[in-house]
Symmetry: D2
Subunit: 353 residues, 4 copies
């Protein structure tokens, strides 16, 4: 299975584009369309020989025909050499701004999630995270509040004007989760749950795809490809640590994945230093390091009282520590040429007290 | 969440057992029942304090009350100190006999699967394996024949008098796969697909659970616990190699997992040297090593023409090589005090030619 | 073997300190002395019972007696809670300044090393690195110039006013290497060459100790302890990537090791993003990330023509790319509250052309 | 650096062989000579172009000229396609017999080592192991008895008529260790101590080379190549477990390394299930599995009272458990077509009581 992309120039008319697509369909090929500001890209699944032998250069508007050698196709920079920018509920992911997603490991009760939402909103956070369906190693651990949790999360997002991201664990939960969430998260343990990935590929909502504990970068990109190949191009890749022999940290956060993924793919890349380290003291330095490495965003677990949190307490930042991190990150973000907005000091003071 | 087991002696009457169970239900506890030849074991989920304070020793037939300290409960030897023996379609897994499961990576077409089935049956194989739904890293790789594959597999099993094992990848495939398969396999990538595990726990068919690529033994046993905790006690654990830095082999087959799992758990343990090594030349020596390490069975990929197989050709044995292995294994199996039956030399010759 | 530290207050006179030490020696204990600005710390090897039972608090100047629970003692923050600052040839390592060490993988010839030395000096580099004895996986690969390489390196350092760091591979090379080098490097493969570590512990020169490919943080600190326990307290820890299943990068650079080591130990921590990634395109982002994570310095491979370098070409920066990195790092270093000095733009321009 | 081998037929006279060698020396090439029963092999280091262009086929006795493509040369099966058999003090390693090496982790005192030696001799053990120089993670752990330990070990070997293997940790210990030991062991932590390997290559005693904790098979073979390239062809490879994420076992014993190494190289391969698992209960099953996988020998830690051993107690077999293992292994060894000799039951009984 080799893949070809046909690049059409920006002056190509809709009719010209349609002609090419019709020809491809007529030949029996599947076509993926990606419209950038400067050009339109058609991704074609099919044998290179058949495609190259046809006179596509003769079609008006066709600029270039390129075979994609990487095993992942739509996901690769070869397919699309400009960055994918995802817009969801007023938040822009993958652009110049660094997007911080924060919240508790699990949604626990109404006041908890609301308080957190208001607090972090003022610090510049744009997306509220919180688990309603929790994948836990043991069947006897807290498994999340389910739909009740989803409702509380969505309400808190609404109230504090934050987009909302939460995990979906199985195909039979997609509809329910999509009803409440703005971004659907696939957890590390499900990165190669291919049936789930394919179904999410049919959705019209962004997917945050976490790297599996023992997944190579190529496997992560192929997992993303499962989603893109079904027509959903809005995938956010997330580095959250890999499993190694080192046991001081819960996982080994592989920050080199950030520049590597940005080079191999056009998709936005965010980092989860909470799961990536498993120790709250390491979260802040690694959040900063992620930004310096070029991450488009962060996913951070916060809680008013980590010691009483239902899960993941050891890696969760207290709100005050998180506020400190946000303030320290601002100059760093500017030093690497990115943007980040917080409330004014006055507003900040009001919220924090 | 702590767990208690109540051991009842073999002379306890049904009525006596029922009394204890009713009391536990009345107190609001979930109860798991496991009947051995010599005693009956009740697994109770609940706080140790509450349970121990109650005068269960006063109930007739109660022999012992033991708290289980391991995070996995029903899966542990603490819960049940005699081996689980699974009987399915005349095959006994976990007993004295070494059970060999063999077949192609994927079901490809009718003649292929039938020929293989007859050939391996004569060599002493008891279970036919073959993928109909294939989890593949790339969305562009062959994904299996789906229901058509299931049908061909079931027919071949029927014809050659072999039980049949095949993979189920998602909750929405369970019903379909269970219609055709005698044993349902959970692949390494789905070992922590907890929604899938829970649903399989409600099934009345044995589950072959493969260890995840980066799963510890404890995590594997906790994954099994998800199935057992729903009432399905027929789980076969499968070591199939873990992911390490070594790249000569596809995975690193961790044979120490065999005696370790046998010590920690009462469940049968089989080994897959095909995925465990990724190289056909290593399959035979590692199959033998698995038996010497105490495995209850083997899962081996075979194909008449590995070079033309749709997937996994590099790790697949030709039928002749497999026959050679079966013959060499026989004395080895006897040397470790286990049993294995093959056709008579005459019959063998007939099949092989 | 448990260890005790005796903290003496800053007003304690030399005579008072001597009295305590004499008493400890009299009791048969080994004593390690560490003088900070505010207090003097005595590390005592011996049984806690014996030491605690003695009336050391009765000695004048004794402020506190603390048992060290960590397996590493002199290396731990429990032993010494202020940062170790190492001064060598006018360079300060472990202070406010970020120290960059750069140079070719191997010293190749006079002009090469001299040109590099002058070029990097202007960019703010303080230490020149370069291998004379090269540990190579294959006996048929270039093994370094030996003493000739050491001489060229020392001359280049002298000429460009840079301190010099180079690897020592064996006890029988120590004397020779120490004659030319300001800092002696222990490579990853020798991190647990305990005989070498002990001998380096008797030296009066700083040692740069690289983390072994599969060494935990605890093992790295215990390796450092081998050096400190012999009396040489000037050890620089170096994170250079660990071996994992990921093969896109040569190693997985574990940046969480930086804040973790800084918390567990008082020793300076530097990062080698060249070996840590094995790909030159990832060196710059990971160098920046290391700084943001709190590293005290960097170790970077540079070469005028990486494609013609005798070894490690793929991970080596061209001089222009390195200059670009240094310029980009400056604002980042300031954003995290550290210092870094480069030549004036005028001088820079002169050197670069 | 490419390598050529020149195969000379068995009828070639010494004079004919000398002529070829002289020509190669004259051309400036280094030559390695390996004499098998059927043919003589000359390993030549040099450029393929130069060597192939010369009319070596014109020399009498030259049968074939083959370039070696693998990075390891003398170590590879391409260089020598028959097994290396090492004879030392009446013991044959790499032949049909399975050679068991056993003894305490560390030599502790005279009676200990003597008692063990006599006991294991009767069980069929051929080589006595015991550490005198111990590589320990912590400088505060027991470091071995040094020369005193070597003496006790050599005496016990003499008394019980066992060959003796012990570890050498550094170049400056080689002379001393070689004085007492029949086989010199290189520990996992020193597998890439290249200076040590080169010096051992000049010795006339067999070297037992343990695989490094994170060494690939290729790196192990290249480490062996360092020894062979200096003229010492008597290297025994040892699989002793690699470091992975799994922490139930101390290491993950990679038994697939046994058939893989036997295929890639002509050197004997032994397995150390004691370090390979770190748990005594797993030692016996993994010892058996190693034999089934094709190992030429075993290295096992035994002690009369593991709970009182100075080191590695958790992975050490009591003598009775070891005796049980030896008895169980015998039929297994025969089942795989290898040989193993024990004392007669009568003698055995005498020793055990």
């Amino acid at each position: 299975m080799i893949k070809i992309i046909i690049v059409m120039n920006s002056q190509a008319s809709e009719a010209e584009v349609k002609k090419v697509i019709d020809k491809l369909h007529e030949m029996g090929h599947e076509v993926h369309i990606s419209r950038g500001e400067k050009r339109i890209i058609l991704g074609v699944i099919g044998e290179v020989e058949n495609l190259v032998s046809l006179p596509f250069y003769a079609f008006k508007g066709v600029e270039e025909i390129i075979p994609i050698l990487k095993p992942y196709k739509l996901t690769s920079r070869e397919f699309k050499d400009f960055d994918t920018v995802i817009k969801v509920k007023g938040v822009t992911i993958g652009g110049k701004e660094v997007v911080v997603m924060a919240g508790p490991c699990a949604v626990e009760e109404e006041k908890q999630i609301l308080d957190i939402a208001h607090y972090i909103k003022a610090l510049g956070v744009k997306v509220l995270r919180g688990g309603a369906f929790k994948p836990r190693s043991s069947p006897y651990s807290f498994q999340g509040l389910g739909e009740d949790g989803l409702k509380l999360l969505a309400e808190a997002g609404e109230e504090a004007d934050l987009a909302v991201v939460t995990e979906v664990m199985s195909v039979n939960q997609i509809e329910l989760v999509a009803k409440y969430a703005d971004i659907l998260q696939v957890g590390a343990r499900n990165m190669q749950n291919f049936v789930l990935l394919k179904e999410l590929g049919k959705l019209k909502k962004p997917v945050l795809l976490k790297r599996g504990m023992s997944a190579t970068l190529e496997e992560l990109l192929l997992a993303a490809e499962y989603i893109l190949s079904q027509g959903n191009y809005e995938v956010i890749l997330c580095e959250r640590g890999i499993r190694t022999f080192e046991n001081y940290t819960r996982n080994t956060l592989d920050l080199s994945a950030v520049p590597a993924l940005k080079e191999l793919s056009h998709l936005p890349v965010v980092v989860d230093p909470s799961h990536g380290t498993g120790r709250w003291k390491l979260v802040s330095p690694m959040a900063k390091a992620a930004i310096a490495a070029g991450a488009d965003g962060l996913l951070i677990e916060v809680h008013p009282e980590p010691q009483n949190s239902f899960s993941d307490g050891a890696q969760t930042l207290r709100l005050e520590t998180f506020a400190q991190l946000m303030k320290e990150m601002k100059p760093l973000i500017q030093a690497v040429g990115r943007e980040f907005e917080m409330a004014t000091p006055n507003e900040l003071e009001r919220v924090e007290h």
